[in-house]
Subunit: 648 residues, 2 copies
């Protein structure tokens, strides 16, 4: 079974390019597809707030709900700002596209770097949180969490390499099952809290003594800001719809906008519900059991409902990780197409997916999971910064676009580099909304960086500019190569001449070298066989063997260079350089390298790789053409050495 | 600073081949050079015996001395047997050579495999024991022992790569300082034991309760055998002199023989002295402190003498490790020369040493040290088996040689494949000594394997045959290749024909492909530019660009293959195969691959490696010559794309 077979079994038969189709989603399925990421944040967002507040003691946990509501307000602002984007970029308007169209290269690269960072984190955080949902229900698995997380990433990677399209159906069930399950828990919790229908009241737990008692003034505000920053992780994934407008059934923009509003409300009701109940019961964040699990257990007992919620929490988190596998390769391919990332990031694999992008994402997110030992709470300080920066840039770009709309008269249209805009009567209101959105998310971004800086945000703050720098360097490389290869300014007469000289390095006279010499003679009248001799015996042996083939060697100059060191490549390369620079400057010279190849497993390992190393060194000499004349020794040819000369 | 500079700084300037000289050693230095390995065994051999006996309680430790004397007797037998080898193989007669000359291929490979295994263990065991000597004196370093051991191996490797020859002087001092120091301790110990000169009597320690009380009959004998097997580690390194006869001043054989006797007596007096005192004081082997260290401390106190002995124990052990660096690469190069190991094992590096052998040894011994966590006591069960097997084979070979000597009449001589033998009057006595040696070491070998089998000897018992198998497979590979390449049966007319066809795969029309086409036109009248098109746009673009260079493309057939998948190499390779098999069967066809190369760091990483992968796939087609026409884009050429076409 060779590698190709293994690949076929794992990945499946290749798809022809013509088979690419775009599935269109109705709103119910689209909501499920796009909402899994933001809705799944509910598994850890409340916890992220409480995690900070707990240092002030249980009393401070009452601030959870107001902070959750502030986050919810922010979500609504972003949702309504993004509706503008959806309406004006019906072909898909991610932050990268909008920034490129309105703000220029640098902001667009910033947005791209920020988003790519966040997509990697989406996979790491969601997978780790999914594993926590599993281990909260089955504590015995806690010590294997790193292994489970890596396995989950591997499975998601494999599914994506097989190219399962975003088929709404498989997403729809877990998403709605999760939302439904948590909703039921929240409703039961509220009933018990309010004592309706004579329900048993909710348990209220003991208070924890604050670690930091005298938090007043600035310190208190700072802690609140940090807690708020923690809650902002709920905003990740909201922007995904704006990239995928084309996945909706027509009218695409309208359906996408409606879905976005529904998603915002759904995610935020869960968030506020969970935050409310967790505060009401004085729950304390613990490493072994998530807040959501604690809440469900105390509200509904370790019932079927509990396992339902835990199961679908894990599933929706893995689905959220899957959205990273849609977003990262797509954005990478955009960047690669524009020349900011390696070209091969836009190569489609056998199953028409961006295989390289998928593999890069899998590698990076696995690395993060290993570094952070699958602890998503430790990763959260790095998370949500990227998405917040991309909101800011996207909204700033939109306000610029709205300004352009403002210059149009009724009935007029205008083409930007990406989209077409028309006259709109109430453009200035929309523009104000975008400016507000950009300002608020900008401030939140600064808050996020500042409050989480020492906990890990510095990594992202450092990484994003570095990525931008890298994008720029890559772009410059491609520009230079294109200019160097371009034929637009070129005349045919400019082509370099080919010198009539062929050099054949030989170590010994055997069938392989004879074949190379014969080939060389066909190319040129000036063939030189060059042999580096490291001992008098070797010198003599080559001369003797040379004489045995008078017909073939006739007209070939034999150059034997005596050399008192063992590294025979140096004098060889020196000789070739001398011929190139002194005898035939500015012409192409030719080197014929006899190579023998064996098909035996590990056979190549038993020979000095002189030919390979020589080829590598000659690669960097710009006017040297290298000809490899192979001499294949396959196992069936070997027994008696007769059939090995190429005739059967 | 590039790699070559780093290499120069670390390894030094290369030596010319003509500079190789053979240093000749006088007996005093030669003893130091060759004795460091067997004499250093005293640092752990007594311990290895006591380690087994202790399970019977302190009472059984009194058996240490008789067992040590049995080992010493074995050493003397081996020494006198080996003197025959030295006298008959003045050019060096390691077990491999002697077995090859007298017993045939399989026994010689067995001996070689056994010795190579032991040489690797010499390095691991000696280094680890050296580190134990250090940590016995400075217990704070105990937890860093693995790191120290690996560092020591790295330093020894570095020294050997620099090619410090076996300069007797640096060996002489630590060896004699160690022997002298331990001798003084033994003499003081004996004086105190006998109560001479009114010396304070030696301390005698409490007894340990036996773990295994009722060891009688077979179990008792078995334990004694195991303890004896432990002591046999003292025999390692004895054979080294037989390989290095040429390192002595003339008369080589005589001097070598005398040195061997001196070495045997010196090593065994230390061994018996240490064993006697350790038993007299009822010392108990401990993990943290070696027996030698305990003995020295109790006899001489923590005095200057104590640190002297510890220091030179460590030094002589590191020197013993160094002998592995002489033996392993030398034997490997013999095997490589005979075609039983990869050819590159006989390559001499810049400093005229067998660099590859040194590096392989360093890698293997480091691996062992890591696996056994630098605990030489745990490694000892693997040790000494190889050397005992090589003794057996070597002595068996010598007895066969003596039989040949017996057929000679006075004054007659006879040449074997390696050496020359003459008439000897008392050949049958010598032969009996060799037979006795072979028998005894053979029995001891079986005892070693049996008693240490479960503790780790099974690894060696498995490894040695596997190595022999590997040697054999390597040999067969080289034989086949030689037969396939051999020109001895070949007629010049047998050479394969070169077809008049050149295929140029092109992805686009740029300066690089134009250069390749131009080169191809020079080679043949039948040039075919083959392009795989994955979309109608691509098809059209290539046709358009093609027409822009009418002069160059005149006479070249443009073949555009439309392909509905992304893996463009498949149709390309298929096309080449079809041309090769259908149009020009049994002829060499030519493929010209345009390649562009950038000198930018990481630049290559930004491009699809299509050309490289194509070359790799074509390598295994036996009648395809591949021509790489490079197009070098160096950074200075790039800015305006003008100077990049090869003309300056």
């Amino acid at each position: 079974m060779n590698l190709t077979t293994v690949k076929r079994v794992l990945i499946g038969e290749p798809f022809p390019s013509s088979r690419e189709v775009h599935e269109r989603l109705d709103k119910v399925r689209a909501l499920a597809v796009f909402a899994s990421d933001p809705i799944s944040s509910n598994a850890y967002a409340t916890e992220a707030i409480m995690h900070v507040l707990i240092v002030l003691g249980s009393g401070a946990l009452s601030m959870t709900l107001p902070l959750a509501m502030a986050v919810a307000g922010l979500v609504l602002l972003v949702v309504f700002s993004y509706i503008q984007t959806i309406m004006h970029y019906p072909d898909g308007g991610g932050a990268y596209t909008v920034a490129k169209d309105n703000l220029g290269r640098l902001p667009s690269l910033l947005a791209a770097a920020a988003l790519l960072t966040d997509y990697v984190l989406t996979v790491s955080v969601s997978t780790s949180a999914g594993v926590r949902a599993v281990t909260s229900a089955v504590p015995e698995l806690f010590e294997y969490r790193l292994f489970i997380a890596l396995f989950a990433i591997a499975v998601i990677t494999w599914i994506n390499l097989r190219g399962v399209r975003e088929s709404g159906t498989i997403f729809a069930f877990p998403t709605y099952a999760f939302v439904g399950g948590v909703m039921v828990v929240i409703v039961i919790g509220l009933i018990r809290y309010l004592g309706l229908f004579g329900a048993e009241p909710l348990p209220v737990f003991r208070d924890v003594v604050p670690k930091q008692k005298d938090a007043v003034g600035f310190v208190y505000v700072w802690l609140l800001l940090r807690a708020f920053a923690g809650g902002c992780t709920a905003l990740t994934g909201i922007e995904a719809i704006s990239n995928g407008v084309q996945a909706f059934k027509p009218p695409e923009s309208k359906n996408a906008a409606k879905t976005m509003v529904a998603m915002g409300f759904m995610a935020m009701s869960l968030f506020i519900g969970i935050s409310f109940l967790a505060t009401a019961m004085h729950l304390i964040p613990e490493e072994e059991e998530s807040i959501l699990s604690q809440m469900t257990r105390h509200v509904a007992g370790t019932s079927v409902l509990y396992y339902w919620v835990q199961t679908f929490t894990a599933l929706i988190l893995f689905l959220a990780a899957n959205t990273g596998y849609q977003d990262f390769p797509r954005l990478s391919s955009f960047l690669a197409k524009d020349g900011f990332m390696p070209r091969w990031m836009q190569n489609r694999g056998d199953r028409l997916v961006y295989s390289m992008g998928i593999l890069v994402l899998a590698g990076l997110s696995s690395l993060l999971v290993i570094i952070f030992q699958a602890d998503e709470i430790a990763m959260l300080p790095l998370y949500a910064l990227g998405v917040m920066l991309s909101f800011t840039l996207s909204q700033a770009g939109m306000s610029r676009l709205m300004q352009k709309v403002g210059t149009l008269k009724p009935g007029e249209s205008m083409k930007t580099s990406v989209t077409t805009i028309h006259y709109e009567p109430n453009w200035h209101w929309k523009r104000r909304l975008n400016i507000l959105g950009a300002t608020v998310t900008g401030i939140v971004f600064i808050v996020l960086v500042a409050t989480k800086f020492l906990e890990g945000a510095w990594i992202v703050a450092l990484l994003i500019p570095l990525l931008v720098l890298l994008f720029d360097r890559i772009h410059r490389h491609y520009e230079r190569v294109a200019a160097a290869l371009s034929t637009s300014q070129m005349q045919e007469s400019e082509l370099v001449e080919v010198a009539d000289v062929v050099i054949v390095p030989i170590a010994d006279v055997h069938k392989g070298t004879l074949r190379a010499l014969q080939y060389a003679k066909r190319l040129s009248r000036d063939v030189r066989a060059v042999s580096i001799s490291t001992s008098p015996q070797m010198h003599q042996r080559i001369e003797e063997r040379w004489k045995r083939f008078p017909k073939l060697t006739e007209g070939i100059r034999l150059v034997i260079i005596d050399y008192d060191y063992r590294d025979i490549l140096n004098p060889l390369v020196e000789y070739i350089e001398r011929v190139n620079h002194e005898e035939f400057p500015d012409q192409l010279i030719t080197v014929v390298v006899p190579e023998f190849v064996t098909t035996e497993l590990g056979g190549q390992f038993l020979h000095n790789q002189t030919a390979t190393i020589l080829r590598m060194r000659l690669r960097y000499m710009k006017d040297v053409v290298v000809i490899s004349v192979p001499y294949l020794i396959s196992e069936k040819d070997m027994p008696n050495g007769r059939r090995a000369n190429g005739r059967k």
